[in-house]
C-alpha cells in the first residue's frame, strides 16, 4: 500500500519514511502536492495532529507497529503513540478515548462502553485521573475532535456531541445547563432524524469549528458548526496594507450553522470517505476521485502553491499508480492524506 501526503510540514511531520538522520534543514518546506511518504504491505489510516503524524503498519513480518513523524515528546514514541493514535484531541489539548474492556462480552451484551476524557496529555502522563468518564449506550465506536469539543459515533449509527457551550453550533444541538448540558454527550437530533436503521452514519470527522458525518448507504456528507471567529474578524484594518494574516480565513464550508446540512460534492456524487482539517476538507467519491475544499495556505489541498483557497469542492488531479486504487483519505489540522492499495 502507498500513503500520500500534502500540507503543513514544519517539523517533517509528513515524512513518515524519513531516516532520522540529523541533517538539519533550517526550515522544512510544506508539501503543495500529494507525495508518496510511505510504502508497506498494510498501512492503516494515519492520525495527524499539528506537529506530528502517526502511521500504523500491520505486522506481516517485522515491520509492524506505529510510526511517528514530526515533533512529539520523547515519552510519546515509547509509550503514548498507541493512546494518541486511538484518541481524539481538542485544541485545548483535552483528549477523549474509548475504553476497550478486555472482557468485552458483557459489554457487548448490554451494548455499552465508556469514554474517558483527560484534561491534557501531560496530566495523563503524570498519572492524573481522567477529567470525566462517560457511559455510552449504545457503545461508542468512533470519536473525533473539533476545537472546543468532541463528536461521538455510536454502534447504532447515531451521533452525539459535547464541549464548550460558547460554540453551541458545533454541538449541533441545543444546550441547557440542567436538561441538556453541553459538557456531557447529547444526541444531535437533526442528524439522527436524517440517518436511519437502513442508512446509519458510518463515520464522523471534525476540525476547527466544523463537524461532519457520512451516511453508509446514501453516501452523503452532512456538516455543521460555527463560522470560524477568525473569519468573522473581517477586513484588514488598513485597506492599503494588504496584510495577509488578516484576510478571510474561514472554514472550508461557507455557511455553517448548528443544523447539519447536506454538502453536495460535484453535482451530488456519492462519498465513501471524508475528513476535515482545521480549515479544509477532503473527500473520496465512489468513482475513486479526490475532492477538496477550504484553505490551501500550507498546501493542505494538494492543488499547488498558487491556490490560496477554494470555496467549493474541487477535484484534485491525483493519479493513482497502475493497478492501485484509493481506499481512504485522512486529514491533519493543515494536512491531507490519501491511502492507496493494490486493486
Amino acid at each position: 500500500m502507498d500513503l500520500y501526503a500534502t500540507g503543513f510540514n514544519a517539523w517533517h511531520q509528513l515524512c513518515l519514511n524519513r531516516q532520522s538522520s540529523k541533517e538539519e534543514e533550517e526550515e522544512p518546506h510544506d508539501l503543495y502536492r500529494f507525495a508518496k511518504v510511505l510504502s508497506a504491505a498494510t498501512i492503516k489510516r494515519p492520525v495527524s495532529r499539528l506537529t506530528y503524524t502517526i502511521g500504523l503498519l500491520l505486522a506481516v513480518h517485522r515491520d509492524g507497529g506505529l510510526l511517528v513523524a514530526g515533533l512529539v515528546s520523547p515519552e510519546t514514541v515509547d509509550t503514548e503513540a498507541e493512546f494518541l493514535y486511538t484518541s481524539a484531541e481538542a485544541a485545548s489539548g483535552k483528549l477523549l478515548a474509548i475504553v476497550h474492556d478486555k472482557d468485552g462480552d458483557d459489554n457487548d451484551a448490554n451494548n455499552s462502553n465508556k469514554l474517558v476524557q483527560y484534561s491534557s496529555l501531560t496530566s495523563r502522563r503524570a498519572g492524573a485521573e481522567p477529567e470525566s468518564i462517560f457511559d455510552c449506550r449504545p457503545r461508542a465506536t468512533q470519536v473525533a475532535a473539533f476545537n472546543t469539543g468532541f463528536v461521538i459515533l455510536h454502534s447504532d449509527g447515531s451521533v452525539s456531541t459535547f464541549g464548550d457551550s460558547r460554540f453551541e453550533a458545533c454541538l449541533g444541538r441545543d444546550t441547557d445547563p440542567l436538561d441538556r448540558p453541553s459538557d456531557q454527550p447529547g444526541p444531535v437530533p437533526d442528524l439522527n432524524d436524517i440517518a436511519s436503521a437502513d442508512d446509519p452514519i458510518k463515520l464522523v470527522t471534525a476540525g476547527g469549528t466544523a463537524v461532519a458525518a457520512l451516511t453508509s448507504n446514501s453516501c452523503s456528507v452532512y456538516v455543521w458548526g460555527c463560522p470560524s471567529p477568525a473569519a468573522a474578524a473581517r477586513t484588514s484594518a488598513s485597506a492599503s496594507s494588504g496584510n495577509s494574516q488578516h484576510r478571510r480565513r474561514g472554514h472550508a464550508f461557507p455557511e455553517l450553522s448548528g443544523v447539519p446540512n447536506y454538502t453536495e460534492v460535484d453535482g451530488g456524487k456519492d462519498v465513501v470517505d471524508v475528513a476535515l482539517g482545521d480549515a479544509h476538507a477532503i473527500a473520496l467519491t465512489t468513482d475513486g476521485l479526490i475532492y477538496v475544499c477550504g484553505e490551501n495556505r500550507n498546501g493542505q489541498l494538494g492543488l499547488g502553491r498558487e491556490v490560496e483557497r477554494v470555496e467549493t469542492w474541487t477535484n484534485v488531479p491525483f493519479l493513482v499508480a497502475d493497478g492501485y486504487k484509493i481506499v481512504c483519505v485522512a486529514a491533519g489540522p493543515r494536512a491531507s492524506f490519501i491511502l492507496a492499495a493494490k486493486a
Binding site: 503543513f8 499539528l50 485545548s92 500550507n298
Partner: protein, 513 residues
C-alpha cells in the same frame, strides 16, 4: 541617513535576537527549580503545541536576524522569504485560534506571548523589506502600527521579554522618525499645505432628546469634598446612595483646554496620524443580531462613523463614508469605540485626564447581592466611550461603582435601583456566557425612541408582549439625566443603567470599589 531610522532598525534587530534566544515556557516544568512562590509555574508548563510553536517562532526570529545582517552588509541572506512569511502567518493563525479555543480566563499566558512576538517579527519583516528598497513610506507605517496595535489589543501586549513596554517604545520612536521624514519631504517640496478641517466636533443632536421629568432628574451638585462624598455614599445613604451628578469634578482636565478632545486634529495627532487601531462595536446594541466587533484605524473610525467631513478624501482610498441621510442610517452604520481601555493602549491620551479624587473614596458593597461585588481593584479601571449620536449601551449593571465623565457632546442616562432587579428581566446564560447583568428590556424601544429590531419571527404576540413589558416597566421608579461636557455621573454599584448618546460623544468611565 537618519539617526532615528538607525535607532528603529537596531531596536528591531535586538528584538529578533531576544525572541530567538528566549524561552517563553519550560516544556518540562518538573525539571525547573520549584520556586514555590512562582504562581506562574503552572501556567508555564507548556503543552506540546505551545513548545512546538515557540520553537517555530525562534527559527523565524533567527531568519529575520540573518536578513537584517544581510541588509546591513549588502549581502544575500539565503533566506526563503516566502516560507518565512508563511511561517509567521502560521504562528499568528495558530495562536489566534487558541484565543478562541480556550475561555478567556483559561488561556495559557504563553499563547499571548507567542502572538505578541509573532506580530513584532511581522512588523520587523515589513520594516526590513521597506528598508531594503529605501521605501519606509506611509504604507509601511500603516502596516507596522497595525501589527503592533493588534498585539496590544488582542493579546493585551502580553510579552515575557518584549511586550507592551517594547511596543510602546517602538511606536514612539517610529512616530518621531515619521515626523522627521514628513518634515524633510515637506521642506524640500512644497509649502506645507494646511488642510481645511472643522475645528471641533459638531454638537448637533440629530435625533432630538428625551424630555426629562423634573422629579426624576438626578440632582446636580458642586463644591463637594472627598469627606462629604464618602459621607454621602455611606452614612447618609445608609450604604444605598442614589445616582447624582457633579458639575465640577473634571473641570481642570487638559482634555477641555490645551489637549482638546473635541478637536479631530488633536486626536489625530495623538494617534500616530490616526493610524492607531481601535476596537469598534458595529451595530446598535451588543444584544442585537448582527452586532460585531472590528479593529479599525482611528482615522477610519472618525471618517466612517463620526464625521466624514473630518479628513480630506485620499485618492485611491477605498473607505466609503456612510451616507449622511440622518435617520436613515442602518444599525450597521453605527460604530462605537466602547468599553476600551484606550489609555492603556495609548498612554499619551492618559495625560489629558485625571482620576477624580472621589475614586479613592471608601464605598459600600453591592446593596442587595454581595456575590455581584468584583474583586477589589488597586486602581480605578478606565474605559473610553467614543461614538456618534445614538449609540446605545443597553440596560445593565456593573460590579463596580462608576464615575461616568462626559468630555465631548451629550448623553442621556436612565437608571433603575438594584432593589428593582427582579422587575427588570435580567437575562440568563446565553451561549455559555452569564448575561444576568444585562436586561431583556430595550428602554429605547419601550419609550418609542427606537424601532424594535426585527427578531425574525414576526407574529402578533410580539406587540402584545411589548406593551405588557411597557406597562411593567412604567411602574418601576427610575432616575434620569442628560450629561453635558464637564459633568460626572455617580452610578453606585448595582444600579441598572441605560446610556444613549444624543450627539457625537466621548466619555470616560472610572470603575472602583
Amino acid at each position: 541617513m537618519s539617526l532615528l531610522r538607525d535607532q528603529v532598525l537596531s531596536r528591531y534587530r535586538e528584538a529578533a535576537d531576544t525572541i530567538a534566544t528566549s524561552q517563553h515556557a519550560n516544556p518540562n516544568p518538573e525539571n525547573s527549580h520549584a520556586d514555590a512562590a512562582q504562581e506562574q509555574s503552572q501556567l508555564e508548563s507548556v503543552d506540546l503545541k505551545g513548545h512546538a510553536m515557540q520553537q517555530l517562532l525562534q527559527r523565524q526570529a533567527r531568519c529575520l536576524a540573518k536578513l537584517h545582517e544581510a541588509l546591513e552588509q549588502g549581502t544575500d541572506a539565503g533566506v526563503d522569504e516566502d516560507l518565512l512569511q508563511t511561517r509567521l502567518d502560521d504562528l499568528a493563525s495558530v495562536s489566534m485560534s487558541m484565543f478562541y479555543a480556550y475561555r478567556f480566563d483559561l488561556l495559557p499566558q504563553y499563547w499571548r506571548w507567542i502572538y505578541t512576538d509573532t506580530l513584532i517579527l511581522m512588523s520587523h519583516y515589513a520594516i526590513l523589506q521597506a528598508a531594503r528598497c529605501g521605501a519606509l513610506d506611509e504604507h509601511v507605517m500603516d502596516r507596522v502600527v497595525e501589527d503592533l496595535d493588534r498585539a496590544l489589543i488582542v493579546a493585551g501586549g502580553a510579552g515575557k521579554f518584549l511586550g507592551k513596554q517594547w511596543i510602546e517604545g517602538t511606536l514612539d520612536l517610529l512616530s518621531h522618525f515619521w515626523e522627521e521624514e514628513k518634515s524633510t519631504v515637506a521642506g524640500e517640496q512644497r509649502p506645507h499645505k494646511r488642510i481645511k478641517r472643522e475645528q471641533t466636533f459638531s454638537d448637533c443632536e440629530p435625533f432630538g432628546r428625551p424630555s426629562l421629568s423634573a422629579d426624576r432628574t438626578c440632582p446636580r451638585y458642586e463644591g463637594w469634598t472627598l469627606e462629604g462624598f464618602e459621607k454621602y455614599m455611606n452614612e447618609e445613604s445608609r450604604g444605598r446612595p442614589l445616582p447624582i451628578v457633579f458639575t465640577d469634578l473634571i473641570k481642570d482636565w487638559p482634555a477641555f483646554s490645551d489637549a482638546p478632545w473635541n478637536s479631530p486634529d488633536y486626536l489625530l495627532s495623538k494617534t500616530f496620524g490616526g493610524r492607531r487601531l481601535v476596537p469598534i462595536e458595529i451595530g446598535r446594541s451588543y444584544v442585537d443580531q448582527g452586532w460585531s466587533q472590528e479593529l479599525v484605524q482611528f482615522r477610519d473610525f472618525l471618517t466612517r462613523y463620526i464625521d466624514p467631513g473630518i479628513l480630506p478624501h485620499h485618492a485611491g482610498d477605498d473607505i466609503e463614508p456612510i451616507p449622511q441621510k440622518e435617520g436613515k442610517r442602518t444599525p450597521q452604520d453605527i460604530g462605537y469605540l466602547a468599553q476600551h481601555n484606550l489609555f492603556g493602549q495609548i498612554p499619551a491620551l492618559r495625560n489629558d485626564i485625571q482620576v477624580p479624587d472621589f475614586c479613592w473614596a471608601d464605598v459600600p458593597p453591592h446593596p442587595t447581592t454581595r456575590a455581584k461585588d468584583q474583586a477589589p481593584v488597586d486602581i480605578p479601571q478606565l474605559n473610553a466611550w467614543f461614538g456618534p449620536a445614538r449609540t446605545i449601551t443597553p440596560l445593565h449593571t456593573d460590579g463596580y461603582h462608576n464615575l461616568l465623565c462626559q468630555v465631548v457632546g451629550t448623553k442621556y442616562v436612565r437608571l433603575y435601583a438594584p432593589e428593582d432587579t427582579g422587575r427588570l428581566r435580567p437575562r440568563g446564560v446565553e451561549l455559555g456566557v452569564d448575561m444576568s447583568n444585562t436586561s431583556e428590556l430595550d428602554v429605547g424601544v419601550l419609550e418609542g425612541w427606537d424601532k424594535a429590531v426585527d427578531s425574525g419571527d414576526c407574529d402578533d404576540g410580539e406587540d402584545e408582549e411589548e406593551s405588557r413589558r411597557k406597562e411593567e416597566l412604567a411602574d418601576v421608579p427610575y432616575w434620569e439625566c442628560i450629561l453635558r461636557p464637564g459633568d460626572t455621573l455617580v452610578i453606585p454599584i448595582g444600579w441598572w443603567h441605560y446610556v444613549r448618546s444624543l450627539s457625537i460623544s466621548f466619555s470616560v468611565s472610572f470603575w472602583w470599589n
